[in-house]
Amino acid sequence: MNLTRVAGLTRRYFYLYRSSMPRLLEQLYWPVVDLLVWGFLTIYLQRFEGTLPNFLAYFLGGLILWDILFRSQVGVSVAYLEEVWSRNLLNLFVSPLRPGEFLLSAMSIAVMRVGFTTTVTLVIAWGFYGFNAFVMGVWIAAFMVSLILMGWSMGMFISALIMRFGQGAESLAWGLIFLVQPVAAVFYPVAVLPPALQHVSQVIPAAHVFEGMRQVLDGAGPPLHHLAWAYGLNVIYLLGAASFFYYTLAEAKREGRLLRVGE
């Protein structure tokens, strides 16, 4: 055992982390996100002292719908990353392909990924736990579409961040969406959150979807109010994310970043 060699290689990783803000932030990210989600869930469960109605439907419904949001976002971001990993991005950008066409392709493959995964999770939830997500009726389709739209906007935003900060930021593709999870109230109502975070939830489309899901599962009427909010916000975020992607691409061309993809 040569400790000098061990120290040399350790130094290599230390240099890498010291020079990469995304890698440094990741050290704190997951512990904080986990603490928030599980902390709020625990508070919610404590309030009902084990007699929570509809808990299975809330939890499995939340899990299935959350995965739709996650797959939709990852589908878009990974489409961009696939081109980075295969060093193919320049071939695309010197072709007549428009940025909007690139984004539409990424969104299309994201929908295919969502369709494949959701089919499997719905079958498993029904087969293993007797939970039929279609008890939500036609509303489940409205929830799914809204979550796909939010996933698209987050996917575009994250792709733009990776274009801006380089491949060192690729973990954002799998991680950034979980920053939304605590305030999206996936597994507990928005009312469980502290008042300040409840205000944040109001501008998260997914929070309205999950509130709407619980409303439908409780038989408390059509979730039109929540869906109107969710779709309205989605329109704003989609336009914002697309604009941010275009702006970042223009900046990348000014700064010569497209030639340095992979760093």
Binding site: E82, E83, S86, R87, N88, L90, N91, L92, F93, V94, S95, P96, L97, R98, A250, K253, R254, E255, G256, L258, L259
Partner: protein, 258 residues
């Protein structure tokens, strides 16, 4: 390559750069570069590492936005003419790959769609045959040798029958035999299709053999432009390699006549 016949009219310029300048912060990567590339010409861009060759090509392909200056490709300018320009040009570089998990055929089929190539299957078959890679059509690109990959990249670059081909070090990392075959394929393509080619290479003999004219740049600035024979004469050297070493080591600065 013989010099153009003085009696015949010069072909029109299909690439025009005027006062092309790119600054990255305090670094001046390309400094007031002007040149024309004529239709059907094989035009070489020469310079040491960091001289500004890649930045120049990137500006011609709209991958980098110039700080100042103007680029005209086939009479059009970016960004307004981007789609029209890029559908009539193509690019290949040793340093840019194709998706490695896709087969040769799948890759070419994808790019045929991106360039809206009519009757793509027939076009791809023709290119596979020309580059002698028909037997590789079902192989993943990641499983190919460097030489085979280069031929696939060139096939991709010719899919849309480009009016102008931008080639960044197309024979880097190839053995002499494969590099020679690649050069022959380029010359054949140019002869058959009249394609204009802008090429960069660190292989000086290759540039002497292939290029009608060469633009020598140093630290982003135009050092000299002319036929390989002109350049050798002006530097008083026997090979472009000697000229390159003169320039790289600072001993051979030659100002062009006004």
């Amino acid at each position: 390559m013989p010099p153009p016949d003085a009696a015949s009219p010069e072909p029109a310029a299909v690439v025009t750069a005027r006062g092309l300048t790119k600054r990255f912060g305090a670094t001046l990567a390309v400094d007031d570069l002007s040149f024309d590339i004529r239709a059907g010409e094989m035009y070489g861009l020469l310079g040491a590492n960091g001289a500004g060759k890649t930045t120049t090509i990137a500006m011609l392909l709209d991958l980098i936005t110039p700080t100042s200056g103007e680029v005209r490709i086939l009479g059009e300018r970016y960004p307004a003419g981007r789609e029209r320009i890029l559908s009539r040009v193509n690019f290949s570089s040793t340093y840019v790959s194709l998706p490695l998990r896709l087969t040769v055929w799948e890759n070419l089929r994808v790019f045929a769609a991106l360039y809206s190539v009519p009757r793509p299957a027939a076009r791809i078959e023709g290119l596979l045959e020309r580059f002698e890679i028909t037997h590789l059509r079902r192989h993943r690109v990641g499983d190919l040798s460097s030489g085979q990959k280069t031929r696939v990249y060139l096939a991709k670059a010719l899919l849309n029958d480009p009016a102008i081909l931008f080639l960044d070090e197309p024979t880097a990392s190839l053995d002499p035999d494969m590099a020679d075959k690649t050069r022959r394929m380029l010359e054949q393509t140019r002869a058959e299709q009249g394609t204009t080619v802008l090429i960069t290479s660190h292989n000086m003999a290759e540039m002497e053999q292939l290029c009608d004219r060469i633009l020598f740049i140093d630290k982003g600035r135009r050092l000299m432009e002319g036929t390989p024979r002109d350049i050798l004469t002006r530097f008083g050297r026997a090979t472009l390699e000697e000229v390159f070493l003169d320039v790289a080591r600072g001993g051979g600065r030659v100002e062009e006549p006004a």
